[in-house]
Symmetry: C2
Subunit: 214 residues, 2 copies
């Protein structure tokens, strides 16, 4: 049995479980987001801002994926939303089975939005469907405008690219036109939302996007 065969089997099995997850989400009329990026792009910050804006009107649940620690789950728990931490113990991505196990800890019928924050990694999580409705890739202005070209699989599979840390644009070399062009070359259908979790600029567009998708 070759390595490639094993990898194919893992991905096939993952896709089957992701399809089961998708049925579970559909049955519970749950809109589900898989939030993806490098470490430190601002996934947890975006999640915090999203909860602050929507927690009064929408029932939100969160699955936190991390290599180690439950720091992010603790940040989210402060908002009194149900949150389940998955620690991968060195694993570089979430898999559908891990998410399925986590779902047992929610009363899904009471939720409307489930956000799955993946492990910080711009490479591996691109291959693993979790059953989500939409994949959101975050890129921050401090990471450079060449990232869609250099890490194309993630931008190819994503539905939305959220460009975070626009407040730092004047201090870094980041060409917004260039990143849009590179991203659309890889994925012409990619929606792009620019925002700053720090100043709140552009967050309304993101919140509207969620409301429109519920």
């Amino acid at each position: 049995m070759s390595i490639v065969t094993v990898e194919r089997k893992i991905l096939k099995k993952n896709d089957e479980i992701a399809a089961e997850n998708r049925q579970i989400f559909k049955k519970n009329k749950l809109f589900t987001i898989n939030l993806l990026s490098s470490p430190g792009s601002g996934k947890t910050s975006l999640l915090e801002k999203t909860i602050e804006q929507l927690n009064n009107s929408i029932k939100i649940g969160v699955v936190e994926g991390d290599v180690q620690t439950d720091n992010d789950a603790q940040r989210i728990a402060k908002y009194n939303v149900p949150v389940v931490q998955i620690v991968t113990n060195g694993g570089c991505h979430l898999e559908a089975k891990l998410v399925q196990n986590a779902l047992e800890n929610f009363d899904l019928s009471t939720l409307e939005l489930l956000v799955i924050e993946n492990v910080g990694n711009l490479v591996c999580p691109a291959n693993y469907d979790l059953g989500e409705d939409k994949k959101i890739v975050m890129l921050s202005t401090t990471e450079g405008d060449d990232k869609p070209s250099k890490y194309p699989p993630m931008f190819r599979v994503s539905d939305v690219m959220v460009i975070n840390k626009t407040d730092l644009l004047e201090y870094v070399d980041f060409d917004m036109n260039r990143v849009r062009e590179h991203a659309h070359t890889i994925n012409p259908n990619l929606e792009i939302i620019e925002l700053s979790c720090k100043t709140g600029e552009g967050l309304d567009v993101w919140i509207d996007w969620i409301r429109d998708n519920l």
Copy 2:
């Protein structure tokens, strides 16, 4: 044959080839660095600055690892140093065998320093020894001071942590004492160098570190 067994076999095979690489480097009196970080932390920028400072006095070779594109190799080639690009085509890390194959393109006996810039990924490359003398993990101030705790394997296996983008410290929430404390909890022997590739501040410490290790 289980997945875990396959993974163990891959890592064992990788370690064997890394040991061969180490012998090759030793035979050629070559100091070799494995440069590791998330996408966009500034690996290629540090490499450019290092070449600018040392190219007149030290013979440098570069191996560039990327998921896609040879953008980084093109950036480095401008400095007239020998550079070999490895494109992993979606692969999330360099392996010792890929590096060994790349070595065939150098006249190693003429080199003193070889820098291997790994794929931008703070998780997977931690497991793959390439035969290098030192592992350098870069973290930029825009990624957050919690990263050593959240991605401990990479910081555990590294010899030096280079904290880049100190020029942005005043615009981001990044506590230098906190990151040092977290990093040293995971790896008490980790050397820490703070610098800014943009302003050049602190670069002399990095350059001295290389000279001391040659």
